[in-house]
């Protein structure tokens, strides 16, 4: 169940919140144009309580906490790559028990009323961390798990993951003479997570900040586990211009490569621009517009590889049709 009154942030309120609770200070080593940095800020802006932040191994972790420095203004912990959701489970259980027995009452230096946020990349979510997330969701821990999906193992130098899209060039799916990029499609991560029957799941493109903030807030308000699939452009790994990040994250939605929707107690609902595309199908842009801004898909534009773009488009169309049905269109 998600709280009825929906928070609608206005830009002035956000400016004020951002000034007050900036989670990560400037000076971190995330690349210019990295989607994850935007996602982190949006999560913090949407928070209703103080946060305890659990991070899986990956770009975000290594770029923000190079000892002896840390960029984090909020309590933050990283254990390993595949276990962030399990660590989150432990934190949530501990918080519950300690609050129940008023353990720190009378200690003005300890706050126990906080939300647990767990952040992982696509590698740490689609692949190696899937088991721990599934376990945490099955046990109904009240954590919000956010997947920042930059569609490859970026921290180890752009290798394919279960989240890498069809055709993309990575260092383990190179564009070779015989096989050109990744031959397989993305794993249906939202379906897998929704199948756990969790109260709240949603996709967000940080380019649509309003939509994203509302969903992050709903995730925090959910009575039980929440899963947010956040799209996250990686200029280095995708061969895109840093200044195109927001444009690409928008185009992903406009081409229906990454539709925006939420699943509340099992019910699908399109949100933001995806609603207008559902109502006006001619607004749906061709995938080329999204693909052409990224070096990882460049080979697909060669005449002999045209079939790859067609195959990509077919997949997007099929996914979109299935989603429309689920959302009642």
């Amino acid at each position: 169940m998600v709280a009825k009154a929906v928070w609608r942030p206005d830009i002035k309120e956000l400016a004020r919140i951002e000034g007050q609770k900036r989670p990560v200070e400037s000076g971190h080593r995330l690349c210019a144009g990295c989607g994850a940095g935007i996602i982190i800020r949006q999560i913090a802006m949407a928070a209703r309580k103080p946060l305890v932040w659990i991070n899986a191994t990956g770009c975000v972790e290594v770029a923000t906490t190079i000892f002896p420095y840390t960029s984090w203004n909020i309590p933050w912990a990283h254990n390993a790559f595949e276990n962030a959701a399990a660590v989150g489970s432990g934190v949530e259980a501990a918080r519950k028990k300690l609050a129940r027995v008023n353990r720190f009452d009378g200690d003005p230096d300890v706050e126990l009323d906080y939300d647990v946020i767990v952040l992982g990349g696509d590698g740490g979510t689609y692949d190696i961390g899937l088991q721990a997330i599934s376990g945490a969701f099955e046990r109904r821990h009240k954590i919000m798990y956010v997947l920042y999906d930059n569609e490859a193992y970026m921290n180890t130098g752009i290798q394919r993951s279960g989240g890498t899209p069809f055709g993309a060039r990575t260092t383990t799916t190179p564009v070779g003479k015989v096989i050109k990029g990744k031959p397989l499609f993305k794993k249906p991560i939202m379906d897998i997570m929704v199948a756990h029957g969790i109260p709240y799941a949603a996709t967000v493109s940080p380019a649509y900040w309003n939509d994203a903030l509302v969903k992050f807030r709903k995730g925090f308000e959910a009575e039980g586990p929440a899963f947010i699939h956040a799209f996250s452009t990686c200029p280095l790994g995708w061969g895109s211009a840093p200044e195109d990040t927001v444009k690409i994250m928008k185009l992903a939605v406009e081409t229906c490569v990454f539709p925006l929707y939420e699943v509340v107690d099992g019910e699908y609902r399109l949100t933001g621009p995806s609603v207008s595309i559902a109502k006006n199908p001619d607004r749906k842009k061709p995938v080329e517009e999204y693909l052409k801004l990224q070096g990882r898909f460049r080979h697909m534009f060669k005449p002999e590889n045209k079939w790859m773009i067609e195959k990509f488009q077919e997949w997007v169309d099929r996914q979109w049709e299935t989603l429309l049905k689920k959302a009642g269109y």
Partner: protein, 412 residues
Amino acid sequence: MVVQKLVSQTMMALNGDEAVAWAVKQSNVDVVAAYPITPQTIIVERISEFVHNGEVDMEFIRVESEHSALSASWGAALAGARAFTATAANGLALMWEILYITASTRTPVVMAVVNRALSAPINIHNDHSDSMGARDSGWIQIYSEDAQEAYDNTIMAFRIAEEAMLPVMVTLDGFTISHTLQNVSVLPDEVVSNFVGIRKIPRIKLPHIYGEKEIPLMLNPKYPISFGPLDLFDYYFEHKVQQNEAMKASIPIIEKVHREFAEISGRSYEPVHMIPYKTEDADVVLLGLSSTMSVVRKVVDELRSEGKKVGAIRLRVFRPFPADMIRKELSKISTVGILDRSLSFGAEGGPVFMEVRSALYSSSSKPTVYDYVYGLGGRDLPPKLIKKAFNELLEAREEPEKPVIKYLGVRE
């Protein structure tokens, strides 16, 4: 810390696993995260019963793997809770990565390891290949001899872990201890509860961020700290050396907690790290771990009655390794046999042998040391084989022979 006077205790028939579960129940544990594996399963089952009957107020997380069991325990401990987990063999192997992380982040998790052989071939019975494989991970390791000690060690482990800021592994032999019913003296709930107290959170200074203010070392929005950062070649080495110093610094803490526990329970395990038996005038001794040593002591008595000067040493704390004490104790012995219940493939001997012989290298009187590998996969070590080993050692005294590794009880 207020130490109470010796109190009357209840005699309960418990197996080793139940004894551990009982200790956990009495020790103000906030969070348990555990996954079943034979022969540890009874611990998980008993704790489940305590929770489901409302006999204890804890969060019990029935995780989906041992990897998550330790990960969740780590998260809980970092969030300020007292955390416990338990495992064996393959479960411990699956935790390997997180064993190191738990120790390196100085997180006081307590874990019972019910010793069992590692696969392959799959075998559920006792040997020490699991915990010996974890010996370099930075955990304090205490080896129990029987169910009573498993109970006592588990209670003491919480105090040791929290004072030393290091995780503690309490081991007990699979089936031999875990499944054998024994009379166990159980302390009253409130006595244990007072002894372990409620977990106190250490306070630290981070002058660059919080000035002179002492802040709680935990995940806490009032005073945020980053745990588990990236640590490259400019600091990692120093941190590892500090961690090693913390291990050494735990030696007096382990002793102190044992002394205080002896005052309430009457059970003293002096001299704590290793317990010698009839070694004062011994010509030869056998040194080993865990339940095997109670049989060895019986054999010592028998051989003594035949006029043979033999003795035994039970090593209780394997990490930190009490090298000085071993050196001192063995300086007057000419021939030593080590009982190793695990192998280090391709090495000069098993792990206990290597540690002991290495400790003796700087001793002026170097005893001859033989390694007896025994009991792999639960193979029995009957008194007659122990006798055989003692007699061999007595003969070898006259004529030191090679090779150093011998197998006790293997078909050839």
